[in-house]
């Protein structure tokens, strides 16, 4: 090898990767050599590993050949070579076949090898074992688990942990050894070699053992409780990570059963002053997270000490601890900012922290704890600061400011000025600018006072904007909002400038936007100018622009002749389709093409959303984001494996647009509606008016899990019961749900039931019960019962045994209620107070709730029961006050009439008093809703 190639391949700093084929051939020839040169082989393996670590991969045949030649190195007894071989086996096991062949050799090393290679050998077992071979390694693993040597024991614990999903039966038998490994404090045998400076053990085995023990016992609540009790006292755990694991375990327990929290209070208090900062942090996180859902169960002293702990962590010199504490505080600030106001002095001193991550978080937290009073001063602090930070932090700050604008609509001027300043003067990439524009769009949509000023400034901005996407968005917004402003001609000038100056993409967006001004009512003279502008554009050199201009001209012409024409709606569309439904429909249309698209696509079956609906959905998503933020953390703190579903939920949490979770929900709703409408008998009921959310009618771990959806038609109601059979060996035949009205005589007349013919084990299917109702709102509750015939299933055919008559059986499920909320859809209004005062019919009702629940729980229940949208950020009840007012807005699902509710809640020692004041266009709806709140 010449010096040249040597440099090229071996210099790790150069960042240049060795050639894949060269390595492959070198390996093949060197490893098959006899006798083996261990030093050269080790070097080669390290190069191979570097290649793999950089993401290079080998085709399966080559990887397998590599694996077999590496397996030949087992003939050499050099320990260092052996370690390298194990690493290579682990890496190759993913891409090569037949890794099983190394099993015997590895097991021999575990039995007789030196202490140096044993841990590596044990760890590589994970890669080669399968369910049947794991059994033969059982004895080896067991003896390694109880080894006095910490590395060997740790390796065995990790291997068992990773083998658990592969060979559950075998690993389940390790419980005793694992338990022993947790309490056993293992230290390295050669004390004198290590020297005084290094501790002679980190006791990391405890962490690994605890992790495995949790996996083995995670379904046994009592065992977990015992674990916490046993390991939490007297310094049983020396390892920091193990202690954190224990905190997470407590978190898991109380999340499953919040009543347990009381028992842990003193323990948590103790942990808050643990000598390890990470334990303090984890405990504080647990307490504050738990408090958001169960504030009633948590004593205020405990919460206060959690905040104090976090507060003191803000002043430690270690950056990571500071950052973690800030993150937790930031999360609390989203839900109950008033609780962490005490930390404001520390937060303010962190604004100028040299670490930008910390300063950014400090500012965003301050923005949230900010009250209407100090917003102005905060904004001026950020203004000085924002131009110095990187784009990522700018985006975080913009997001915080955006939330602020939704929470404090009255402070719009300061916020708007700030946003405009950063938009015009800030340096930044597309994402940053897009975020500002989005924030401005939010303000235009949700803060009506700010609309004109924001629009004017956006107009200025597009005069000099380099991003096509942003330009197109702004043009669309101008087209949507511009015509209804007091001075539409202003916008026309700006838009037309775009047509003159920009590329084809922008020009076509501008044409659509212009055409919307033609029919504006605020300035009728505009119409002629628009037409002449469009005529000019119709000669554009780009065909798309020409097409759009021509079609817009045609529309305007016909709309002018006849104001009720279709052209009018096409020009100024006041609804859009439910995009999720549209997408899935289009997909099915394209994939099920039978007649080369002769039948046109049918759009009538897709839900149309009016602008109010869209705004309501949008706002709801933004509000949900906070609650989901908490959800993420509870996922992250569960020890052990996380299933894919949750990961996908976590992946998408960007502010804009629906998250994956929402998307799934929407799709599910669409699917239910489609299933329903494909049933002949139900089709006759006419169009579906409204579907309720899915309500659980059984515990989620019951034998039969039943969830109900209420579908509303003009003169009918259909209950859909989705039943999941969780039994493994029993099929259910002829499954029906009987609904008995609680109060006789019922206003609903039962028409028919569509049973499930056969529900196989672990299958899900829907059963429908249909009723006839009058056109009025009918509210009733039904006692429900699941009726079915059980039949044992033949495990071979997965069908019931022939001739099995089965047993008639029934199963109680929760009652299903048809309440006023089912007739209502949530809706958005910019100025709630004004809207409320304008509505004609008023109704007032007073309730007294005796249950011991917190205000927040009651608010949540109100939102669900009424199906209305909480406005002005009233969906969060303050935890430090005994009263709260919720503002709800919605509209009738069938008629579209508006309804607004102001609900005052006062908590006393006797319970919670509710005064609901409703106003609506429809007097009966109002009365029904107000009187049927609970």
């Amino acid at each position: 090898m010449s010096t040249h190639t040597y440099k090229k391949f071996e210099n790790a700093e150069s960042g240049e990767l060795p050639d894949r084929m060269t390595i492959y051939q070198d390996c093949m020839s060197e490893f098959n050599e006899s006798p083996i040169n261990s030093k050269r082989c080790r070097l080669l393996i390290s190069r191979l590993l570097r290649l793999l670590a950089q993401g290079e991969t080998f085709p399966e045949s080559e990887a397998t050949a590599l694996f077999f030649s590496i397996s030949k190195l087992f003939q050499h007894q050099n320990d260092s070579l052996r370690q390298a071989v194990y690493l290579a086996i682990k890496e190759l096991s993913g891409i090569s076949q037949d890794v099983l062949m190394a099993t015997s050799s590895i097991m021999k090393d575990i039995q007789n090898g030196s202490e140096l290679v044993k841990p590596n050998a044990i760890r590589s077992l994970t890669a080669v074992l399968d369910e049947s071979t794991a059994f033969s390694a059982e004895r080896l693993l067991k003896s390694a688990l109880v080894s006095r040597h910490p590395s060997i024991s740790s390796a065995a614990l990790c291997t068992s942990y990773n083998l658990l999903p592969i060979a559950e039966v075998t690993v389940k038998r390790f419980a005793n050894e694992t338990q022993e490994a947790v309490v056993d404090l293992k230290s390295f045998p050669h004390k004198n070699l290590v020297g005084e400076y290094y501790p002679n053990s980190t006791f990391i085995t405890q962490y690994h053992a605890l992790g495995l023990l949790y996996q083995l016992k995670k379904n046994d609540k009592m065992a977990l409780l015992k674990m916490v009790r046993q390991f939490s006292n007297n310094n049983t755990l020396k390892n920091q990570l193990a202690k954190i694991e224990l905190v997470k375990l407590v978190n898991e327990l109380i999340n499953k059963d919040s009543q347990l929290f009381v028992d842990f209070q003193s323990l948590l208090m103790e942990w808050l002053s643990n000598k390890h900062e990470s334990v303090q942090l984890e405990t504080a996180k647990l307490i504050t997270n738990f408090a958001t859902h169960n504030s009633r169960l948590i004593s205020s002293e405990l919460f206060a000490s959690a905040v104090t702990t976090l507060q003191s962590l803000l002043t430690v010199p270690r950056v990571s601890a500071k950052f973690a504490a800030l993150r937790i505080l930031n999360r609390i600030s989203m839900i109950s900012p008033e609780k962490i106001v005490v930390c404001n002095p520390e937060l303010e001193s962190l604004i100028n922290d040299p670490n930008r991550n910390i300063s950014t978080y400090a500012i965003t937290t301050l923005l949230k704890t900010g009250t209407a009073k100090n917003i102005t001063s905060l904004i001026s602090t950020i203004t000085k600061f924002i131009h110095d930070v990187s784009d990522d932090f700018k985006i975080i700050i913009i997001d915080a400011v955006r939330t602020l604008s939704l929470n404090f609509p009255n402070e719009w001027k300061t916020i708007l000025n700030f946003l405009i300043d950063v938009l015009k003067n800030g340096e930044g990439g597309f994402k940053f600018k897009n975020n500002i524009v989005e924030a401005l769009i939010d303000m235009v949509t949700f803060v009506p006072q700010a609309k004109e000023m924001a629009l004017e400034n956006l107009c200025d901005f597009i005069e000099d904007c380099e991003f096509n996407e942003i330009l197109a968005r702004i043009l669309h917004l101008l087209g949507k909002e511009g015509p209804s402003t007091s001075n539409p001609s202003l916008y026309v000038r700006h838009i037309y400038n775009r047509v003159v100056l920009e590329n084809a993409i922008i020009r076509s967006a501008a044409v659509v936007s212009l055409s919307k001004f033609a029919l504006t009512k605020n300035d009728p003279s505009l119409s002629d100018s628009i037409i002449s502008l469009l005529r000019r554009i119709a000669n554009d050199k780009d065909d798309e622009v020409r097409d759009r201009a021509t079609i817009a001209l045609k529309f305007i012409e016909s709309a002018k002749k006849d104001t009720s024409s279709e052209a009018q709606t096409l020009l100024q569309s006041n609804y859009s389709f439910d995009f999720n439904a549209l997408e899935s429909k289009l997909n099915t249309y394209i994939s099920s093409n039978t007649d080369s698209f002769k039948t046109p696509f049918d759009v009538t079956s897709i839900r149309k959303l009016t602008e109010g609906d869209i705004k309501a959905l949008d706002l709801k998503r933004k509000q949900d984001k906070f609650t989901k933020g908490e959800f993420e953390t509870s996922v992250e703190s569960t020890p052990g494996m996380i299933d894919d579903n949750l990961i996908s939920k976590r992946a998408d949490s960007s502010f804009a647009g629906p998250s994956a979770h929402d998307h799934q929900q929407d799709l599910l709703a669409t699917k239910y509606a489609e299933d329903l409408m494909s049933i002949e008998q139900i089709k006759e009921f006419g169009p579906l008016v409204n579907s309720s959310q899915i309500v659980a009618l059984t515990e989620s771990e019951a034998e039969f899990v039943v969830r109900g959806v209420k579908h509303l038609f003009a003169n009918n109601v259909v209950f859909q019961f989705n039943i999941t059979n969780t039994l493994t060996d029993t099929a259910l035949d002829n499954v029906t749900v009987t609904c008995t009205p609680e109060v006789e005589p019922s206003e609903l007349e039962e028409l028919f039931t569509i049973p499930i013919d056969r529900l196989l084990p672990s299958a899900e299917a829907a059963c429908y019960v249909a009723f006839k109702k009058t056109e009025d709102m009918v509210m009733e509750s039904f006692l429900t019962n699941l009726m079915f015939t059980t039949k044992e299933v033949n495990p071979e055919t997965n069908e019931p045994f022939e001739g099995d008559e089965g047993f008639q059986d029934e199963y109680d499920i929760d009652s299903i209620f048809l309440n006023a909320g089912d007739y209502i859809k949530s809706s958005f209004v910019g100025d709630f107070t004004k809207a409320f005062d304008e509505l004609p019919n008023e109704e007032v009702a007073v309730y007294n709730i005796k249950e011991n629940i917190s205000l927040q729980e009651l608010v949540d229940r109100l939102v669900v029961n009424t199906s209305c949208l909480p406005l002005e950020n009233t969906q969060y009840a303050p935890s430090d006050s005994n009263s709260h007012t919720v503002k709800l807005f919605g509209q009738s699902a069938s008629k579209g009439t508006k309804i607004a509710l102001i609900v005052k809640l006062i908590k006393t020692s006797k319970g919670i008093a509710i005064k609901a004041q409703g106003r609506a266009e429809d007097a009966t709806l109002c009365a029904d809703l107000v009187n049927g709140l609970m």
Binding site: N32, S34, S71, Q75, D98, L100, T103, S104, S136
Partner: protein, 183 residues
Amino acid sequence: MGNFFSSMFDRLWGVNKELRMLILGLDGAGKTTILYRLQIGEVVTTKPTIGFNVETLTYKNLKLNVWDLGGQTSIRPYWRCYYADTAAVIFVVDSTDRDRMSTASKELHLMLQEEELQDAALLVFANKQDQPGALSASEVSKELNLVELKDRNWSIVASSAIKGEGITEGLDWLIDVIKEEQL
């Protein structure tokens, strides 16, 4: 200079060269027991080999690199991955297992057809002679159709790995053949 001569002599007598040998055969024939009988001279408790065992041992001044490959049906296809550079194959047969003699014969002949093993000597151990009802060496030879083998040095030896009988005799023959061939 001295080094040079010693390495030349080594090469002449084949001391430094390692000889690769494979121990093959159906599962449960006693391959792993034979390997460790050769290495440490004792009977070890074994369990079915998943993969292979490899040991280096010195026998009559020769360094032997002995590979014992698992005999289970699932592992047999991988034997071929270890054929390269093999000086000799030791095929172990369970002499009491009359039912599977034909399987053993088939595997043996299939293996010997491989290009890479054309020059390898073959030693067959008719193992488990200590058991009642074991076939004799000549009977095993007939069952395995050994007479059909042309152009190959082969021999069959009755053995009992447990008692240690026949193993050395077999190996002595093998070493002689290899020395003769290589020198």
